[in-house]
């Protein structure tokens, strides 16, 4: 046993050393400096205990960023999940051109976020395609464009995010659908179950683990939303999210690494609690089914 264990440690060392050096150490070290007033330029710092965390809780910019993050998460995940499931059900059926639609739906999720964000910035602009269509339909739109208005900017980015993410989660749901044994559908058909009844009684319960996976990873991703905010609005027009706040505080204007680390840990705790809650709730529900 011993002779087996030693070479395995050696063989895995490239990965484990990298993991320790570039993941465990920075994460642990950032926890430490979140209790300091680390000044990046001079490298000087003093231990200030929980002062950064206390300041965060009364910082209007952080609270606004947190609020926007929750709006983003709460506003995108239900739509992304439902649309992805519906699209998976549609492309799971036999019809002509099915491969094309599967590819077309999946395409946005493998396109660069920066590229998509730049395209949507133009689409959302005053005189852009979406504004023109809205005008033709008689819908009133913000005078300077969707991204230059506090009431529409964040929701516009969320809509783009749903459009971009849905194909990826569709693929995961599709894999889940393929894993459901055909015998169950055949038995339901023999027993005269309607397609709706089959969906609610067979498809959905058996997709529960997949749905849980989709919701959890989508939540984590959405809590970390950054690129689209950075490219489309630079956090202006009430669109700054938690990660954008961390970036701004830590790496741009202020270079307050200790404060930014504290914000990162608050976000980490929120994501962890949220993920645990999702596991517990969805597992209970799954058991009830």
């Amino acid at each position: 046993m011993k002779s087996f264990r030693t070479p395995s440690l050696i063989l895995t060392s490239p990965w484990s050393l990298t993991f320790i050096l570039f993941w465990v150490f920075p994460v642990t070290y950032s926890l430490y400096i979140s209790f300091t007033d680390y000044r990046l330029l001079t490298g000087e710092y003093d231990w200030i205990g929980l002062a950064n965390y206390r300041e965060l809780l009364s910082d209007p910019a952080f609270l606004a960023a947190l609020k926007n993050t929750f709006i983003f998460v709460g506003g995108t995940i239900p739509f992304t999940t439902v649309f992805a499931l519906v699209m998976a059900l549609l492309v799971n059926r036999q019809f002509r051109g099915r491969a094309f639609f599967r590819s077309a739906f999946f395409l946005p999720s493998i396109t660069s976020m920066v590229v998509v964000a730049l395209i949507f910035t133009n689409l959302y602009a005053r005189g852009g395609y979406i504004a023109t269509l809205a005008n033709l339909a008689g819908v009133s739109i913000p005078i300077h464009g969707f991204l230059y208005d506090n009431t529409t900017a964040l929701y516009s980015i969320m809509a783009m995010d749903v459009w971009m993410s849905v194909g990826y989660y569709m693929l995961i749901f599709l894999a889940g659908l393929k894993a459901i044994p055909d015998e169950l559908y055949e038995a339901a058909e023999i027993n005269g179950a309607s397609p709706m009844k089959t969906f609610w009684s067979i498809t959905l319960p058996l997709l529960q683990p997949v749905a849980l996976f989709v919701i959890v990873i989508n939540s984590i991703k959405s809590f970390q939303v950054f690129v689209e905010i950075f490219v489309m609005t630079k956090g202006k027009f009430d669109t700054a999210t938690s990660v954008f706040f961390i970036y701004e505080e830590g790496l741009t204007t202020a270079f307050r690494i200790g404060y930014a680390s504290a914000a990162a840990y608050v976000l980490f705790i929120i994501i962890a609690l949220f993920s645990i809650a999702q596991f517990v709730l969805l597992r209970k529900r799954s058991a009830a089914w």
Binding site: A125, R126, H144, K236, T252
Partner: protein, 421 residues
């Protein structure tokens, strides 16, 4: 014996070359555009030819993340010997003790170069001015004519600017009088401050002790800017505003010399003019012709001044070689070469500014004139925070209809608190 002589000769030669060992200096800079890159390389080659013991390694930075890279390099002790800095960054790095004191070098050059004040912090000079920059008023002559104004109309006062912009705005729903920046970091305040300074607004009292940003003049400037924004503003980021201007959709915009370069390189056929900032006080009738050399107490208005500076890291092991490079790059001859290649309008060298290249081109002449009528933000390590607060205040007024007076009073309070920390 002959062998001994050969050995001694070789020893002397090898010893000599060891004494003249290459000094390598690192230079980080931002000029990566294909139009300027060959000129930059040629300048470095020429410097190395003139200084055989010094080799220069040039690293290109981008404006997207150059500031972060510079700060991280200084923080990690891996800063280059020579670094190009935006004027806003100098005080922050000097305050942290990261820059080499250039005061003795600057003392003999005070009259020769413009822009020392932006590099002076706590009575010491921390960087050498290289290429400066300001903003001037661009206008579309075609739209001015269509709006019924004289073809050689130039707005001298705020009233004239507003009147002309509103007339242009009334031409067509897709035509706008004024290019108004959206909430865009590092850009919006540079558009508002020319009006603020033109109205004689000040960030701080003369002794620098008190923030006075909510003065009556400042409120007047913000109200005027808000009026332009609301009544005839095409709201977009700087690039979007310039695109729309070049497409003939906007009457007046504020922009820098890069737009001249763009117009030339993209072969745009727009009929445009440039002028110094209008002043707040004059109320001449519209369509007035500008007399050559016209001046008054309130015309032209002030504009924003910034610039590119060359500094030496305090940790540099070769400050003398670094200073040689800086002196070479910022020489009159090289500044003119640089400006010609990059179509830049504002060399820091006063001698270079008088070169016929700038004086024979009316647009470049406008920039040189405006530069001498420009003001820069306070040289303060905390300016980055103040800038953020200032931009947020302007955003609130422009986009959330917050009252200018109350918003500036709140800004004054915030900046005062910030300075107390």
């Amino acid at each position: 014996m002959r062998q001994l002589i050969v050995v001694i000769a070789l020893s002397v030669l090898l010893g000599g070359s060891a004494i003249q060992a290459q000094t390598t200096i690192e230079w980080w800079q931002f000029w990566t555009d294909p139009s300027i890159k060959p000129t930059m390389s040629a300048m470095v080659d020429e410097f190395e030819r003139q200084n055989p013991g010094i080799q220069v390694n040039v690293t290109d930075l981008t404006w997207a993340n150059g500031h972060e890279k510079i700060v991280l390099a200084f923080a990690s002790g891996s800063a280059p010997d020579v670094v190009e800095l935006g004027s806003d960054w100098i005080a922050q790095l000097a305050d942290a003790g990261k820059l080499y004191d250039l005061t003795p070098h600057a003392d003999s050059l005070r009259q020769k170069y413009q822009g020392w004040s932006m590099a002076t912090y706590q009575d010491k000079v921390w960087a050498q001015p290289w290429i400066l920059g300001t903003r001037v008023l661009y206008f579309n002559r075609d739209l001015i004519r269509r709006a019924g104004l004289d073809s050689d109309f130039i707005p001298l006062s705020w009233n004239e600017l507003r009147g002309a912009a509103e007339k242009i705005q009334a031409l067509d729903p897709d035509i706008y009088g004024w290019g108004s920046n959206t909430a865009e970091k590092h850009r919006l305040y540079k558009k508002f401050m020319p009006f603020f300074w033109s109205a004689r607004g000040r960030m701080f009292s003369e002794d620098g002790r008190y923030c006075v940003v909510s003065s009556q003049q400042a409120v007047k400037a913000l109200e005027y800017y808000k009026h332009l924004h609301d009544s005839c503003g095409y709201v977009a980021n700087q690039r979007g505003i310039e695109d729309a201007f070049l497409d003939g959709k906007i009457g007046f915009i504020l922009s820098g010399d890069w737009l001249l370069k763009r117009i030339e390189l993209e072969k745009r056929s727009i009929d445009f003019g440039t002028s110094t900032m209008p002043g707040p006080g004059l109320t001449f009738g519209t369509g007035r012709k500008v007399a050559a050399g016209f001046r008054s107490e309130t015309y032209p208005g002030k504009s924003f001044m910034g610039g590119e500076y060359l500094a030496i890291s305090s940790a540099s092991e070769h400050p003398d070689a670094a200073l040689k490079l800086i002196s070479f790059i910022t020489s009159d001859e090289n500044q003119i070469k640089f400006c010609k290649a990059n179509r830049s309008a504002n060399p820091s060298s006063r001698t270079a500014q008088t070169d016929e290249y700038f004086q024979n081109n009316p647009h470049l002449r406008t920039f040189v004139m405006q530069l001498h009528l420009s003001t820069h933000p306070p040289v303060d390590p905390d300016w980055v925070y103040m800038e953020t607060e200032l931009e947020q205040a302007v955003e609130k007024v422009l986009f959330e209809n917050a009252p200018p007076g109350e918003t500036l009073r709140q800004l004054q309070k915030t900046i005062t608190e910030l300075r107390k920390k």
